[in-house]
C-alpha cells in the first residue's frame, strides 16, 4: 500500500530560482536563504520518497486568464519547465506518476472534490524552486512528482478548509493505491508578501510564526481563517498559504515537526519552511529515532 510519510512546506520565490540559475547562491544575501535548506536536502536524501505530490500555483505561465481551474491535477508522464519570459529554467523535466495521479483523480472526484485533470502542462518556478530547495540541482529529480496546481491568482481561491479537506481526500486515495510507495506532500508558496499595489513589500513575521506553530500543532485553529485575514495580515499574495493546508490535511492530526526555517527577505518575500513527519506506523509509544527535537533556525532573529 502507498502511504504518506511526511509533509514539507516551502516558499517558492522566483528570485531563488534566478539565484540558482545565475550561480549566485554563494553571495551572502542568498547564502542566508540557502543555508536554511542544507539539512532539508539531507532529510530528503535520507527519506527517499518515491513520489512527491507538489501543491503549488501557476503564475500566468501554464494558465492565462482564459481558463482558471481551482484545482488542477497533473496526470501526465512528464512536465517540462515553463518559459517564464527568459527561457525555460535549466532544471530537469519533471517526471510524473500517471498511474497514481489517475487513481487520485478518480478517488477524490468521487469524494466530491471536482478537480480538473490535466494531461499536458508546463510547470513554472512555483513547482521547480521548492524542488531545488529540497533536492539541490541534480541531473534528474530524485522522485516522481504529481503537480497539483491551485488557483490563488484569481480571487477567491479555495478556502483553507476546502484545501485541508482535499488533503484528507488525497491521503485516502494514496492509501488505497496497491503499490508500496513512499509519498511526501509539498505545500508551497508564502509566507507573508505583497508584490502588488502601494502596499507592496509588506512582511508580517509575527503572523508567519504563529501560522507555522499552528500548522504543526493546531491546524484546526487556522483552517477556518477567512481569506481577508490572510490578505490583510500576510499581504495580498500571502493568500498562497492556503495551499499549505492541503499538505497538512494529508498528514496525521499529530505530527512530529522535524525541521523549521524562517528568514526575511528573499526578494520581496518572507521565506518559511517546515518538515512534518507522520508518526511511524506500529512504532507504539516509542518515539521514532529520526524525529529529533525540532531544530529552529531563524536568520535575523528578533527582527520584529
Amino acid at each position: 500500500m502507498a502511504r504518506i510519510i511526511a509533509g514539507v512546506t516551502s516558499s517558492h520565490v522566483p528570485a531563488i530560482g534566478a539565484a540558482i540559475d545565475n550561480g549566485r547562491t554563494q553571495e551572502p544575501y542568498w547564502q542566508r536563504v540557502f543555508s536554511g535548506f542544507e539539512r532539508s536536502k539531507e532529510w530528503m536524501a535520507k527519506t527517499k520518497p518515491d513520489v512527491a505530490i507538489v501543491i503549488y500555483n501557476d503564475h500566468a505561465s501554464a494558465f492565462s486568464v482564459d481558463i482558471v481551474p481551482t484545482f488542477a491535477l497533473g496526470c501526465a508522464a512528464e512536465f517540462p519547465p515553463a518559459d517564464e519570459g527568459w527561457g525555460p529554467r535549466p532544471v530537469p523535466v519533471v517526471k510524473g506518476h500517471p498511474e497514481l495521479a489517475a487513481h487520485i483523480a478518480q478517488s477524490v472526484i468521487l469524494d466530491e472534490f471536482d478537480l480538473t485533470v490535466v494531461n499536458k502542462m508546463e510547470v513554472d518556478h512555483g513547482l521547480t524552486v521548492p524542488m531545488n530547495l529540497l533536492c539541490g540541482s541534480p541531473k534528474e529529480w530524485p522522485c516522481k512528482v504529481i503537480p497539483l496546481a491551485v488557483n490563488v491568482v484569481l480571487f477567491p481561491p479555495p478556502t483553507g478548509h476546502r484545501c485541508f479537506m482535499l488533503g484528507k481526500a488525497i491521503r485516502k486515495a494514496v492509501e488505497s493505491y496497491p503499490e508500496d510507495l513512499k509519498v511526501v506532500v509539498f505545500g508551497t508558496g508564502g509566507m507573508s508578501h505583497q508584490i502588488s499595489g502601494p502596499r507592496a513589500g509588506l512582511i508580517n513575521s509575527k503572523f508567519d510564526k504563529a501560522f507555522l506553530d499552528n500548522l504543526s500543532n493546531n491546524p484546526q485553529k487556522i483552517v477556518r481563517m477567512p481569506h481577508v485575514e490572510y490578505m490583510r495580515e500576510a499581504g495580498a499574495e500571502g493568500i498562497e498559504m492556503v495551499m499549505w493546508l492541503v499538505m497538512r490535511g494529508a498528514l496525521d492530526a499529530k505530527v512530529d515537526e522535524v525541521y523549521r526555517f524562517y528568514t526575511v527577505p528573499a526578494s520581496n518575500t518572507a521565506v518559511g519552511h517546515i518538515i512534518l513527519e507522520n508518526k511511524k506506523r506500529g512504532a507504539g509509544k516509542k518515539k521514532p529515532s529520526a524525529a529529533k527535537k525540532t531544530k529552529h533556525r531563524s536568520a535575523r532573529k528578533g527582527k520584529r
Binding site: 480571487f155 499595489g197 513575521s205 527577505p265
Partner: protein, 148 residues
C-alpha cells in the same frame, strides 16, 4: 457601474484581483500574456500604439499601459503576475516595478525589504476597523518599515 463592496476593499494600498476586476481586465492581461513570446515583445517595442490596436482595451487601460502606470493597471483589472511581464519586457527587475507602485525609489524599496519589509502596523485598514497594537502611521497611508 458600481462595484459591490467587499471586506477586502478595506485593505489599504491593495487591489484584489477578483472576478469583477478579472472580467474588466481580461484583454489587458491577455496583452501582457502575449509578451511571453519573443516576436511579440519585438513587435510591441517597435510600435507600442500599433501593437495595442490588436487588443480591445478601454482608453484608460491603453493609457495606463503606455504610461506604465502599474497601480492604475491593477485598478483597471490587471493582475500583477501578468503586468510583471510588461515590466520584464522593458528590461526592469521586479523591484523596479515595486518601487513604481509604492512611489519609492528602487534603492529605498530594496533597503526597506532588507530591513524586514513594510510593517503591518498602520497598514491593516483604511477605516481603522482592524487596527491592533499602536499604528505607527496615519490610517490609509503606506508606512515604511522602521529599520534598526
Amino acid at each position: 457601474m458600481t462595484r459591490a463592496q467587499n471586506d477586502y476593499d478595506d485593505i489599504p494600498g491593495t487591489f484584489v484581483f477578483d472576478a469583477d476586476r478579472s472580467r474588466k481586465g481580461y484583454h489587458l492581461n491577455m496583452f501582457c500574456m502575449s509578451l511571453m513570446k519573443a516576436e511579440n515583445r519585438k513587435a510591441f517595442k517597435e510600435n507600442e500604439e500599433k501593437y495595442l490596436d490588436g487588443f480591445p482595451l478601454t482608453p484608460e487601460q491603453r493609457e495606463a499601459i503606455l504610461k506604465r502606470q502599474y497601480n492604475r493597471m491593477l485598478e483597471l483589472g490587471g493582475n500583477i503576475y501578468f503586468t510583471a511581464k510588461l515590466g520584464a519586457t522593458d528590461g526592469h527587475s521586479f523591484q523596479h516595478m515595486a518601487a513604481v507602485m509604492t512611489n519609492s525609489t528602487q534603492e529605498d524599496y530594496a533597503k526597506m525589504m532588507l530591513g524586514g519589509g513594510r510593517s503591518i502596523e498602520g497598514n491593516r485598514s483604511k477605516s481603522g476597523a482592524n487596527k491592533t497594537g499602536k499604528p505607527k502611521s496615519k490610517t490609509g497611508k503606506m508606512s515604511g518599515s522602521k529599520r534598526g
